[in-house]
Symmetry: C2
Subunit: 444 residues, 2 copies
């Protein structure tokens, strides 16, 4: 490991001091995933240079390991011939992953240079949606018949030579290629060679349907600690398998999207400035609308601010505390939804719990806010009003923090993406209105 990490550091830190041949030599000793990491950690110019130093045979593996955005950038810079050569040795799901985002014409051109068998396989792969089991499909399955002996199976495996990566099991099918069961390699090797496959195959674990969403595939892998799983089509026929390495990528990307989604950014770390600006301006624009909504709420109360100017000093406190509390509730709900923990049977309990939390914390915090305000402005009524407004806003933060994500989900929107802007708008508006409204009632 040390050696490889050193390579990576040298490339990232000192690339500018090395000759191209020195960099080429370093790259030759790094696995595809490390090279992909180096590319993802480089600004565009340096990235293109590094990629151009790779041998064509290596490019395919590296392209597959890259995030979609960088992958497509690099693919758009190489010729059809080079791309065809680069992907030739990849697994089905890897080729599909790279080709699926190409313009129609370019894809046809590349497919037309492949053998009939490969073309048909890839065209089948391209019909599956990226975010389903089909998008993770490998077709490199090994299958045997239920009436084979273990000895026959072992001889068959020996004839194969190298087994595909992550082969922890082979599958058992009938003459129509319908899935019947599975057989762990570790069971094959420890069983009496005269046994019959049917006697020792496992039939308890269900195969995965080709249409299942990739997130559900990840849940099945995690819950059952799987290394690989068979995949069947609608007729129950074995069409391939999914392996844990691709599932780990799904889990990482899923987490990445949740984190980025909540801040309204959707770009790779070293995206060029124009693209980064474009992905973020929508979010900022949306926030601008909500900021003007909050400003309108304040403008209703211009008269009272005009009379008591320190209301303007204090009003952001109520709004901002509500925003933080709402984000906390929202985050708990988002996490519960992602992990599929929240459902109709427990949402009522959760709502009451959040309400209790907001009241408990409301009492502590409003006492504090009231005290500090009194020490600062020496005004009992204002101190009481800000405390009361804070409690109102913390309670409204619970309602927003729970209802907004549920409503967004109902309308098939990703609650991680829209949620935080909507809930903080609610708490801003209610924060300003409750504090300034109470002041209007009690101070005029």
């Amino acid at each position: 490991m040390e050696q490889k990490n050193d390579n990576l550091k040298i490339i990232l830190d000192e690339a500018s001091n090395l000759s191209l041949n020195q960099i080429r030599r370093l790259l030759k000793n790094m696995p595809a995933s490390e090279i992909a990491h180096a590319l993802e950690s480089s600004p565009p110019k340096q990235r293109n240079l590094l990629f151009s130093l790779l041998k064509t045979e290596e490019e395919g593996d590296v392209l597959f390991e890259l995030g979609e955005e960088i992958q497509q950038d690099l693919v758009s810079n190489i010729s059809n011939d080079e791309l065809t050569k680069a992907v030739k040795e990849l697994e089905l799901d890897e080729i599909v992953d790279i080709l699926q985002n190409l313009p129609r014409e370019r894809m046809q051109n590349i497919l037309s240079n492949m053998s009939m068998v490969d073309r048909q396989r890839i065209e089948m792969g391209l019909t599956f949606r990226d975010d389903t089991a089909g998008g993770l499909l490998n077709t490199d399955v090994i299958s045997v018949r239920p009436n084979n002996t273990i000895n026959e199976v072992i001889n068959y495996l020996r004839d194969q030579g190298d087994l595909p990566e992550n082969t922890d099991k082979i599958f058992v099918v009938n003459n129509d290629n319908e899935y019947l069961g599975q057989l762990l390699i570790s069971v094959i090797i420890t069983s009496d060679p005269s046994m019959i496959v049917r006697e020792i195959m496992e039939t308890e674990i269900s195969p995965i349907d080709i249409d299942l969403s990739d997130k559900e595939v990840a849940v099945i892998f995690e819950r059952n600690n799987l290394i690989s799983s068979s995949v069947i089509d609608k007729e129950g026929k074995l069409i391939g398998r999914i392996t844990i390495d691709d599932v780990v990528d799904v889990i990482r990307e899923d987490a990445d999207q949740n984190l980025l989604g909540m801040a309204g950014v959707a770009e790779d770390t070293f995206a060029p400035p124009g693209r980064a600006a474009k992905t973020r301006v929508f979010w900022l624009g949306l926030n601008l609308i909500t900021a003007f909504i909050a400003a309108s709420a304040i403008s209703i109360f211009q008269d009272i601010i005009d009379k008591i100017v320190y209301l303007a000093v204090l009003m952001p406190i109520v709004a901002s505390m509500g925003g933080v509390a709402a984000t906390q509730t929202l985050t708990i709900v988002l996490r519960g939804l992602t992990l599929e923990q929240i459902n109709t049977s427990n949402i009522g309990w959760l709502f009451k719990r959040e309400l209790a939390v907001s009241i408990l914390n409301g009492i502590v915090l409003s006492a504090l806010v009231g005290l500090v305000t009194y020490l600062w402005f020496n005004d009992k009524i204002i101190s009481f009003l800000i405390s009361f407004a804070l409690i109102i806003n913390l309670i409204s933060s619970v309602i927003a923090g729970i209802l907004v994500p549920l409503i967004l989900r109902k309308f098939k929107q990703d609650p991680a993406i829209g949620g935080s802007v909507v809930v903080t708008t609610v708490t801003d508006v209610i924060g300003f209105i409750s504090f300034l409204g109470l002041a209007t009632i009690f101070l005029i």
Copy 2:
């Protein structure tokens, strides 16, 4: 799968309508991970009931699958005898995971009921930190010698009977138990039985050091698509292995903590209200301090607000836009740090890119803000001032969004946790000061 998901739904949705025996029967057909999921999706009372219906033999597996908080709650409710029985059949890393958080006295009591061998193994396991390779260690390794033939290895494996879960490879050690290489099961099964282990063992992949952090272990597994890896101590001796299922848990928990950390919540979804209030009040209290800091910034400018009251209406716009932009930059930096993409060689490029983004978006947004402000208040100077203040704040948001996480990391703080509060405080203060300050200069 369908059958199991149904069980889960019935338990969660209709538990109250079922007799205890009916629930017990449903639980018997669910794997430990599904039961754990059902427990994590239940409020405390229902959770304790469900757990009490499990057989003692099942409790260990279920406890291990649970998050730390819920696991410790349930453990504290069962007797030492029951706990000893429950953990007896678990793997080393699982037992350690459950026992390590027990009060000293209780742990000693449980260890004293175990066999000498088990006790020593567990005591060794307890010396490793939870967040290192040692915390993920299993001792169920199979090792062979380099001069064994493949035939001898196969016979040895057959003698073992069942291989441990996730055994994709066995390890090769010398007489002093020093790690020499590894041998994939799939290679063993496809090789000529007369070959010698030394001839076909892999030596390229380095074993993992016992002290390596669990996050780095996850990176190594992902980069090299590993199912399992050997673990060595400081002397290079093989002491166990790590398997992908535990690494997947690390990845999930890591993602979970990033998401929760940014909102200052750290609790399981159905934590009781008192505990949830306690974990969140710190964050809210911190935000209260920063809110008062922002309020002090406003209070400097009370005179000008007193004269031009609609400054109070507009001032939250500048502050809130800066907060959103800073959170975007912060999120990109956090992601880059988590994925180890950011280092001294590219931070300069990233800073310039973020600056370019803030200027690009600043031009678009400040034009919009200026226009809307002009349409609303029909005041050219104020419109110009708010546009200018917005650009200042967007640029300061970049500086805060990049420097704050780097500084927090330098001081060994988790930038995901402190970051957002600090950066939004900076943009609040600069937002208020720049807008109100400019107004003071140009309007008085």
